[in-house]
Amino acid sequence: MSDQVEKLSSKRRRMLVVMAIAFIVWQVAGLQMFSDFAGGDRRLTSFVSLLAFGFWAVTLIILMRQRGVKGAPPEARAALNDELVQQNRMRAFRAGYWVMLIAAAIVFTASLFVRIEGNVAAQLILVAGVAGPMLAFARLEGRDA
């Protein structure tokens, strides 16, 4: 059972990383501001954003349908959500809070030099708040693996 738990845990970790990266790319590449900065074709950044959205949607559906543990025995499911995992989840949310604060500070500082719309600022802070805990959880779960 232990091997199965470790495989499923590793799979969940990898999926979270893919999901977080896809979410960041989807959100950031979709910004008009990003296209302006990149100086590239708006159609290209839109395509990248759409592709990332596709990745994100697929990983979200897989995670929601299987919850990463489809077909696993009850003992394995319990082990995949044991006390260490719950603690890591809480720590990841705490890390997400700090990531959001830092993102807000960066956006605020940048707004002194570059014009940043309010909705863009909010979007960037939300992206940091969503992706931060996911990446932090994946890192914590990978520790001592």
């Binding site: 003992e75 082990a79 044991d82 006390e83 603690q87 001592d144």
Partner: protein, 70 residues
């Protein structure tokens, strides 16, 4: 880095005395092997419920498994 540097654990000794691997103990306590590993290394401090469950599996008292440094 340990959550509670004052806490010391004898879980590894009791587990080995019982002839169990980390994976065996993890399966009996319905946790992951990583959880057992982090408890043994002092990185993770289990709740009272899990400590009691581990003590039950290893047929000893919680105080045998966990104690405070002098």
């Amino acid at each position: 880095m340990p959550d509670h540097p004052d806490l010391q654990t004898a879980l590894k000794d009791y587990r080995q005395a019982a002839g169990l691997t980390q994976a065996d103990l993890a399966a009996k306590a319905s946790v992951s092997r990583k959880t057992i590993n982090t408890i043994e290394n002092g990185v993770f401090v289990p709740t009272t419920v899990l400590a009691l469950r581990l003590a039950r599996v290893l047929n000893c008292r919680v105080e045998d498994l966990f104690s405070l440094r002098d």
